[in-house]
Structure formats: structure tokens, C-alpha cells
Symmetry: C2
Subunit: 488 residues, 2 copies
């Protein structure tokens, strides 16, 4: 379903964020964009769903990075969106590089020249207004503008960039020349913007013609443009390009400098869901100003976000505190200090703590596993295989595995044997023996796996066959530019 | 080693507290008295260690309750204190009943008539002063007084009872007639006590002659006395007695009313370790007033107690907050509200939440186990058997067990078979088959046990042989009064 008569758009979704600000719910291997913070869909899924009535799947691309390939692919796979292009940057180089990459590879992919760029992890409450703004933005983009969506400020927030509306570019509310682009201001300045009016928050959404953004890159970020040109002409690999290009945001690198920036004011009921505080603001609160999620028992707290999962969290007499409890790590943070979660996670990363990288529960296209115990020479997992799914046909060089079936009846392949294993029976997987776990039934299969060996990391896996995107040749393909299309 | 020439004492340790105030570190099945809050010994162990130079093991008794029998016995077992009497009340009936029980059964146990009563869960920093006070208290007890230790107040605490010193009963500091016994006062009154002087905190430690306390019980709590008399004359079982007797504290039932109460001021560096706040007060703090225990990463918090174990806790910008994180539950509580932890746990108990009852890790005389995963029809445990120890010879009626050895080499008995099982091998324990796990080695044995069955509770166990105190006939013995001595 297309909406209205808007110009055709090519949608580029920026999904490379590390999401450190939502620790411990986000991890570097489980970033914010795949979190189901607001309902049953991840922020990335919701971003795509929001676009689908306006931009078909075949004209959507997700830009992420190689380290997050599996988790992004899985998030798309879960919705059956196997037609979406996923462009993987070898490493994060901020938004100018990601948008530049999209502009360079775009001609390979589409028949429209207007790119619409969306962060993967924002909330938009007013879909109708969103489509209206898209159509108006597309017209201004077609006319040669670098178009941004401006959000009318509701408070003097110092966490956003501000856009000053200049000369009107059409009928009232249609759009304005951007008179100034102000990076995160001091509080007093933000207060003045709010009372003066005519200032908008920079939503991080953009529309422009491919040739217009490439011209702007050539003018304002010539080094970046030169490297992208070499990439586009296949004179340089993606890896080499990304090693050389500067890391700078589109805002700082282009929008603050360019003269042809336009603002389309849009009353989107928008949030960048940028911090635990922004998340708290979006949630329904009880009469004491609290939002409680999961297994929480509270006495007399006020204006708190208390977010739990399966563990029990008891709280008493707190005020303006955010508690986030996960299986292996907890955060307790004053609401005024949510910006510092990032700094805390940097510290955890510097200390090499696994809790900054991965959850104990790891999702896979076939189901999920959770590490439930481990020691120097063993690891115990609870593995759940979804109905009709199977793991890859694989072997391990350094570990053996004991499987005890506790729910369902899996089909198990070990070497040349293939057998159904009922509940309460166990099998042993020897070293260097191809094996496969499959759930042919209607209910989930659950097994307890006890691994023993001298090396127990996930990369001790040789795959011979896989139902998903995880065989080595596919992984290689995804690294190739020239045809950086789907690597799935 | 006896100290000085004090009168011989019989020590009664009150260890029946439910310890709800230290949730989530304490649970109803793992009460405060067995927590290692202050060093490597539990509070109960430290209480006994403190007494041993003055009162020999053979003249010490612990009063606890049947529900806590295993955990109390284990705590004593760990120190090799198998000679200590453990009197088990069928249910908690507050301190008047516990002290009355001790006074009734005492003649069976000892040749001294002076009872010294100590809570199992207090801290005393000054041991020398403690012995001095014991000797002075014993002399006043011998002279017919109901003796209490009075702690000089250091703040207008409204959480303690206060004793007003009256007429001096000997040389300066020797002791005073107690002029008034004031239950937890209002703040203004507590402030007046502090500035007026001559008031002491009631420490909950007492000395009296057996006949003196029995006389007082007869006079002030005649119902309680009558039931205890029937018990002493073996005309009534312990269960029946405890069903009938009132639940009242010794303070309220006797000390507030009796005329012959004496106060021995004692500068013990005492704490009742009664709340997380009292615990925080005892701990060493960093320059920001924080005490951090375990895996904690903090940014800029002040005057906080952040207590973690193996999970990671991140805290940012907190002030006057207590965070206590355990394997399955967390508490986040403002320091002014620590008294309400009890109310929170009552709520958990009313909701029938397992987290108020038991830790995931359960200690046993042979080692410990942890429940690492569970579902309707399975339970997975990590079991650690200490060197030289073995579990009971047992069978289960409703569950089978898979054992995978991940550390050490246990000897395993299953039915008539007895075999050593090396690392990375597994065995299966069928239904209704006697089995035993033993660690003959020098290092801990660790196994992963996967139970499956229709009923997976701990009481599905039939023991044929045990190295400890857990065979059914012993358990029965412990319930008998008449000879309520050791049930071990």
C-alpha cells in the first residue's frame, strides 16, 4: 500500500548504534535498535513497519556494522523481511560515512534518486503527520534542499541539536530555509529558543537527492568524498575505505555548514528514545509517577522507573531513581544522571567485562540459548529450539557436548546416525563429529547441554549446512562492496 | 580457657530470628544469624566464639526453631561444634517463651543455676569489656536480680528500648537498679535521654538465676509459666505447649514490670546489626561515604551501601541508597527506610514468592548445590561435593537424575554398582534406585544434575544412610522434649 501521491523514496535506515545508553538492557552485541522497548516489536522493526505503507521493502536498506550483522539479520528475519538490503560497515564511522556509503551504492539498487534517512531507534507517535512530512520533505529534496524534520520543542532540552527556521519555502508549515544549525546548547540558550519560538529540535531524519548529498560531501568533507568515490569506482575495498575516512556526524560535517538546508516542522509525537530518562518519559506512570515493569515489589517510591525481568526487585522509598535489572547485571541510576550510563559502560568495556558485550541469553534464528553455569573447563546451556527449526549441521574441534532432553522430542544427527530423542534421554556428541539438533514438532524443544573441553568459545564451530545466513561463503559475500547488497 | 574467677554460667543463645530485615541476603530458610556479614564467621558462630573463653561448649545451648534446624545445625557443624545443645521450638513464640523453655529444661543439662542469655546475631567489638560485664552481671544475678546489659547511647535512636539507671548497686559502674524500662521512644524523648544521661540502650542480653526468672514468669506471665510447668513435668508435649503459650518478648512480659531489674553499663562497641543501616554503620567507608562489596562499578554516588555478589551492579549518582544484589533478587532502598524491609518481605511471603524463603544456592554438610534452571518437569542443579564428603545414600520416588561430571572424579553408587566417574562422563540414576555421590579426592567434585519427573521438590528423598544428622529417627528425636538435648 502506497500513501498519497508523494515522490518515490529510497529509505536508508541507520542501525549501527552501539546503544550503550540502554545498558544493561542493551549490550554491544545486542544494541538498542533490536530492543523491544515499546511494545512487541524492536525499535528497528517498528521503524520499518512505519515506513512500509510509504516505501516498499525493496526500496529499503539498513546500514549497520559487521559486528552486529547477526543480531540485525535476526531481527529482520523474525519479521520475514529477507528482501531488505543490509549494508554492513566494517566499523562504525558515524552518520556522514553511513549516509555517504548509501549515496554511493544507491544507483545499484533503485530507480529513485531521493534518499530518506531514518535512525533505526526512534519513536514516532503520529504516523499521519509523519507521511505528510515525508511528502513535503520529498518535494523540497527534489528541489535541491538538504531537508531535515524539525520537532517543536516542549522543554529546554540540552541533549538535542536545534534548527532555527528562516525564510518560508511555501505555504505556512510547508517548510523553512534553515537559518542556523545549533549543536546541543547550554540550558539558558535552550530556554531562550523555547520562549522565542521558531526553533526546532533536529530529529536526525533527512531527505535529499543523491546528487545533492554527494555534492555537499565533496564540498564540506572532501576527504570522505574522495574515499567513497574510490569505493564506488571499485578502486578500493570497503575495509580500506573505512580505515581511511573520518568519523563525523552528518550534522557537524554537512548540515551545520551547508546553505541549502531546509526544515520541515513535523508534529510527530517524536522521541529519540535516547536515554533511560527519555524512555521513562514515554511510559505510562502510576499515581506516584512510577513505571514498574516485570517482577517488581515497591513500597512508597516516587517518580521512578523500575524495570525488571525474571529476577525479583524490591524497592523502598526511592525518588527519581532508575533501576534496570537483567539476568546478569543491574543498573541503579539517579534520573538526572542517565547521560552517564555511557561512561559507566565505557568503564566496563575497559575492564573487559563480558556484561558490556553480551546477554547470558543469546537469540538465534532457530531459537535461543542461555548460559546457565560455567567454569574453566565446562559450560552449561539451556537450549530452546523453536517448532520446525533446526540448528546448522556443525562440529566442534575442542569441545564435547552432553545433551539431556527436558522438553519436546528433537531429531538428533550425530555422525551418520539420525534418531528421535525423547524427554529424559541423553546423547553424547564426541569431538570433531558433525551433529545437528532439529525440532520437527509443534512445541518448543528444550535441552540442557553440558559442554566440556579446553576451549569453549562460540567460534569453535564448523558449519557444513545451515538454514539461515551463516555459512562462511555468505559471510564473505557480505564483506564485498561493489555488490554490498544483501549478505543474507 | 576460662577467664578470671567469675561465677559459672550457662549460656543460652537465642537463634530463632527470621531475619527478614536482611532480605535479600537473608531468607526465611537462611536467617540473619547464619549470614557471614562481618568477616569469615556467621553471626551465630561469632557469638559462640566470643563466649567460649568464658563458657565451655558443654554449657552452651542454642534455641532455634524446627524450620531452621538444618541451617543452624550446619552452621555449628562447620565449626565442629557437635557438643552444643540445640533446642528446637516448634514455632517462634518470641523471647519470653524461648527463655522460659531454657529455664525449664536447664536442670537436665548443667550444674549451674545462672543463665546468661544472648541474641545470636549481635556484634560486640570490645571482648574484654564484655567479660568484665559478664562477671559483674553474674554477681548481681546471683544476688537475685534480673540483669541487663546497658549500652551508652551515641545517638537518639528510636529503634531501641531504653533503660533508666536508678540506685547504684555497688562501686561506680558496677551496676544500677533499673528505674524504668522504656520501649522504643519518640525522637524527642530519645533526644532528651541522650542529653540527660543516665539512660542506656537495652542490649537484649540478660543474666538471671533460673529460680528468679521462673518466679518472674509465674508472677508476670502466669499462663506461659503454667504451660512450661506442664512441659517440665512431662504432662504436655512441646508442640502442645507452643500451641498454647502467648507470644511476647521478655522485655515486655517481664523486664518492664519486674522491680528487681538491674542494669550493668557496658561499653561493648555493640551493635544489634538490626537493619541494613546498622550494618552500613559498622562498615568502613570510602572518602565519599560509600561501602562497596562485590562486583560494583560506581560513578559519583555518596553515602551508599552497595552490596553485590557475583552479578555486576552499576550505580550512578545515588545518595543515601542501599543496594543489595543477590543471585535471584535485589533490594534498592533509601537509607531512611530500612525498617520497611520487613514489611516488603511480609508482602513477598503473602505473595508466596520463593525469593522470601530460599536462596538458589543451598548449603549442605557435604557441600552445596545451586538451581541453575528449572521448568514444570525438570530442574538443573550444579552440585559441588567437598573433598572427603559424601551425600546420603538415597532414592527418589518421582524423579530421575542425569549426572554429568565437570570437575573432579566422584565415586558413584547406583543400585549395586559402585564406580569412579571421570570428568566428561555421565551416569543415569533411575527412579526408586538407591544412589550416592561421594568425593574421595582432594579437590571439589562438581557435577551438573538434570532432574526430570512429575514432582521435583526436595522432600522427595528417602535416606538409608547419612554421615550427618539427617536420618528420620534423628529428626524425630529432636522434636521430643523431656530430652530436648541435641538432636544431632
Amino acid at each position: 500500500m502506497e500513501t498519497g501521491n508523494g515522490l518515490p523514496l529510497y529509505g536508508v535506515i541507520l542501525a549501527g548504534g552501539s546503544g550503550t545508553r540502554f545498558w544493561p538492557l542493551s549490550r554491544s552485541q545486542y544494541p538498542k535498535q533490536v530492543l523491544k522497548l515499546l511494545g512487541s516489536e524492536s525499535l528497528l522493526q517498528a521503524t520499518i513497519e512505519r515506513l512500509l505503507p510509504r516505501i516498499p521493502l525493496t526500496r529499503l536498506a539498513v546500514v549497520s556494522n559487521a559486528a552486529q550483522a547477526d543480531v540485525i539479520n535476526l531481527d529482520l528475519f523474525r519479521k520475514g523481511w529477507t528482501d531488505i538490503k543490509v549494508w554492513l560497515e566494517p566499523q562504525g564511522r558515524n552518520t556522514a560515512a553511513a549516509v555517504g556509503l548509501a549515496a554511493i551504492v544507491l544507483p545499484l539498487e533503485t530507480d529513485t534518486d531521493i534518499m530518506a534517512v531514518f535512525p533505526a531507534d526512534h519513536y514516532i507517535g503520529n504516523q499521519t503527520e509523519f507521511f505528510r512530512a515525508l511528502d513535503q520533505g520529498a518535494e523540497l529534496a527534489q528541489a535541491g534542499y538538504l531537508v531535515t524534520f524539525g520537532i517543536k520543542p516542549t522543554r529546554p532540552d540540552t541533549g538535542y541539536g536545534y534548527l532555527k527556521a528562516g525564510k518560508a519555502l511555501g505555504a505556512n508549515g510547508y517548510g523553512y530555509q534553515c537559518a542556523a544549525f545549533i549543536e546541543k546548547p547550554e540550558l539558558s540558550r535552550a530556554q531562550a529558543f523555547l520562549s522565542d519560538g521558531g526553533y526546532y529540535w533536529n530529529s536526525g531524519m533527512f531527505l535529499f537527492r543523491r546528487d545533492v548529498i554527494l555534492d555537499a560531501l565533496a564540498r564540506y568533507l572532501p576527504d570522505l568524498h574522495q574515499e567513497l568515490r574510490l569505493l564506488g569506482e571499485r578502486d578500493q575495498s570497503l575495509e580500506e575505505t573505512y580505515r581511511k575516512i573520518p568519523s563525523i556526524s552528518l550534522d557537524q560535517g554537512i548540515m551545520e555548514k551547508a546553505a541549502n538546508v531546509a526544515v520541515v516542522p513535523a508534529d510527530l509525537e517524536w522521541s529519540d528514545v535516547g536515554t533511560w530518562e527519555a524512555f521513562y518519559r514515554l511510559l505510562k506512570k502510576d499515581s506516584r509517577g512510577n513505571t514498574k515493569v516485570g517482577r517488581v515489589e515497591d513500597l512508597d517510591s516516587r517518580n521512578c522507573l523500575i524495570f525488571a525481568q525474571n529476577r525479583l526487585v524490591g524497592t523502598i522509598g526511592l525518588e527519581d531513581v532508575i533501576v534496570v535489572d537483567t539476568a546478569d547485571a543491574s543498573l541503579v541510576c539517579h534520573r538526572d544522571r542517565v547521560q552517564d550510563v555511557k561512561g559507566l559502560v565505557e568503564r566496563l568495556t575497559n575492564l573487559n567485562l563480558e556484561e558490556s558485550v553480551q546477554h547470558p541469553t543469546v537469540e538465534h534464528p532457530w531459537g535461543h540459548y542461555q548460559i546457565i553455569a560455567q567454569g574453566p573447563c565446562y559450560k552449561v546451556k539451556e537450549i530452546v529450539v523453536a517448532p520446525g527449526k533446526r540448528l546448522s549441521l556443525q562440529l566442534h574441534r575442542y569441545r564435547t557436548e552432553h545433551w539431556v532432553v527436558v522438553e519436546g522430542t528433537p531429531m538428533v544427527t550425530i555422525g551418520n546416525e539420525n534418531l528421535a530423542v525423547p524427554v529424559n534421554e541423553s546423547v553424547f556428541v564426541p569431538l570433531k563429529t558433525f551433529h545437528r539438533l532439529e525440532n520437527p514438532g509443534q512445541e518448543p524443544v528444550k535441552i540442557i547441554e553440558v559442554q566440556t573441553g579446553t576451549y569453549l568459545e562460540e567460534d569453535d564451530i564448523v558449519r557444513l549446512d545451515d538454514d539461515f545466513w551463516r555459512l562462511p561463503e555468505n559471510a564473505d559475500q557480505s564483506q564485498t562492496v561493489g555488490s554490498p547488497g544483501s549478505h543474507r
